[in-house]
């Protein structure tokens, strides 16, 4: 018998495996709820996919199980959507509007956030709060006065009016996000750059934008989502099919009075959801990666 074995085990408080057991419980509970949520949120997309791959006859047939495809998979709904409707025009319009809105939003909000977070001037704090407050006015209220403005500018029934009005939603929020990001950049970084010989423009372009890239991407994702999914403004300001965007266009062209083209609606919704999905998938890692680590101590 060895010397160590001769020493009796000290009494453990609360049982030897309590820590391991509680960790296992935490894991089990986490998995349970995560799976529950995943199922809950994946049911609608699943239903959409299944419905979009059925024939109109099967969708309309009340006796079949809506959760499975009984009469064979068909891409007919997608073919009809692209050939027989103006879906591709809506898609093109939406892409143009979204790209312009994201570009305008980023330019305006990055510049605004930089000046509000770094150039201390009289009323800068109040302005920052003011910008955020404008975001709190819902678009359902704002579209009435905006209608007058859009009509005054002669942009009624033109998707360019969307390029003008969406930034009223995106700029305040993105500016707010960017102010937070820029404020988290240590002040010494711009002071070091100032001493190194950089002007404010160079500090913004060479230090702030690269360092705050995760924040800028977060703001871009937000601007993209808002602009891609907006509904109130296009339904209020756009009437003709050639100017319409995806959200309103899909609904108005595929629901005729009480006739719902369920198959095509689901196909259209899925195609419309694809770009945001791809963007989230590719930019998420970038968004999460903390570039600021190592800027200063720690």
């Amino acid at each position: 018998m060895t010397a160590t074995a001769a020493v009796s085990e000290p009494a453990r408080i609360g049982g030897g495996t309590s820590l391991r057991r509680s960790r296992r419980w935490a894991l089990v509970t986490s998995y349970f709820f995560l799976i529950l949520f995943a199922i809950f949120f994946l049911i609608p997309p699943y239903y959409m996919i299944v419905t979009s791959l059925k024939t109109d006859a099967e969708v309309a047939h009340l006796a079949t199980n809506p959760w499975i495809i009984a009469n064979g998979v068909t891409l007919e709904q997608y073919r009809l959507l692209f050939r027989e409707t103006d879906f591709l025009i809506y898609f093109k319009n939406t892409v143009i509007v979204t790209l312009c809105v994201v570009a305008i939003t980023m330019v305006v909000s990055v510049l605004a956030a930089f000046s509000l977070s770094r150039m201390r001037f009289w009323g800068s704090g109040m302005l920052a709060t003011g910008i955020f407050l404008t975001y709190l006015i819902p678009d359902t209220l704002l579209f009435i006065p905006l209608f007058q403005i859009v009509r005054g500018l002669g942009l009624l029934n033109s998707y360019w009016s969307m390029v003008l009005v969406y930034p009223t939603l995106t700029v305040p929020f993105c500016t707010w996000i960017m102010i937070g990001y820029f404020q988290s950049i240590p002040k010494e970084l711009d002071e070091a750059a100032l001493i190194d010989g950089a002007g404010y423009t160079q500090i913004l372009l060479k230090i702030f934008i690269p360092v705050a890239l995760p924040g800028i991407i977060a703001a871009m994702i937000f601007a993209f989502t808002v602009s891609w999914a907006a509904f109130v403004y296009p339904i209020a300001f756009l009437f003709s099919a050639d100017q319409q965007v995806l959200t309103v266009g899909t609904v108005t062209s595929l629901i005729k009075a009480d006739v719902y083209k369920w198959g095509m609606l689901m196909a259209g919704a899925l195609v419309a959801a694809a770009p945001p999905l791809l963007i989230y998938a590719f930019l998420m890692d970038y968004y999460i990666a903390g570039l600021t680590a190592g800027a200063t101590k720690g």
Partner: protein, 365 residues
Amino acid sequence: MADVALRDVVKRFDRDHAVRGISLNIPDKEFVVLVGPSGCGKTTTLRMIAGLEEATAGDILIGGEVVNDVPPKDRDIAMVFQNYALYPHMTVFENMSFGLRLRRIAKAEIRSRVEQAAKILDISDLLDRRPKQLSGGQRQRVAMGRAIVRNPKVFLFDEPLSNLDAKLRVQMRTEIKRVHQQVKTTTIYVTHDQVEAMTLADRVVVMNGGRIEQVGRPQELYHRPKTRFVAGFIGSPAMNFLSCRLERNGEGLLLRLGEGLVLPVPPTHTARYQPSAGKALIFGLRPEHMTEPRGEGRDPRCEFTVTLDVVEPMGMETMVFFTVNGTEVCARVEPDAASAPGQPMRLCANLNHMHLIDPATELVL
């Protein structure tokens, strides 16, 4: 390279005075350390020299020219920050060359200057890394490298070592001194650590409450402090202060410290202290000048017995603490001379190093 001068420089933040009118001349190539407790205005002074803060009043001169209205980039200075302030998205090479690239210096020239600075700082292997891949000491070297490559007129250091652990701090301290001996650029260094100040500086500027208390060489500040603040701030452990009464004793003078503790003022000091005889004063003596009785020619009149409260062995020496008239006093004795806490110990004061301070003016007599 250039000299730096401050003339009655004042800095106010709203109504608070951070710097209350300081004047200072720093000759070319000198290493000056601004030292003082937090809030004494040392960092504000440095930032005004850098151009990161505007002086409320007074003139700041670099190389003989008033630079009050010159932006930081045109002052030809380089600064090392407490938290390094490295650009996180750039490699070490890009960090060090950033200032040179902004000044549109030829690529070959940039490369040779960066490589030379990297060699001085021993970071040649790290040029392709990013700041987050570096240790604290390496980051600090890169921050210094960024300053060196610019070959500026003045180096400014803002507490550059306070984020490092104790061992690394000592290493980097030596490194900074070595670099200064090599490049010989005028350097202004801010710290709250008096050991750093003493070891690095050609001259130390002790600041307190927005004013300069004393400027002098490290040894001068240690041996001949002008104010109670400097006497207490320089030296570790700090100087002991005891209230006392200076009394005449025939031709000589006596210090009455109460509780029957009476010490004779050395004859060499009598003339200086004669005018203050009869006054209540503050007696100052450093722990290293209060030891166990040792050596020859010792004066038994300077010896006294105390009861120890705390004993702190440091290895090469031992600190002993005791109270005199309710004031804690520290003495520095040989390791084997110290007795245990609660035990009496015989100590001897070397009064050749004593200071007397006027409690009203806080000035050393």
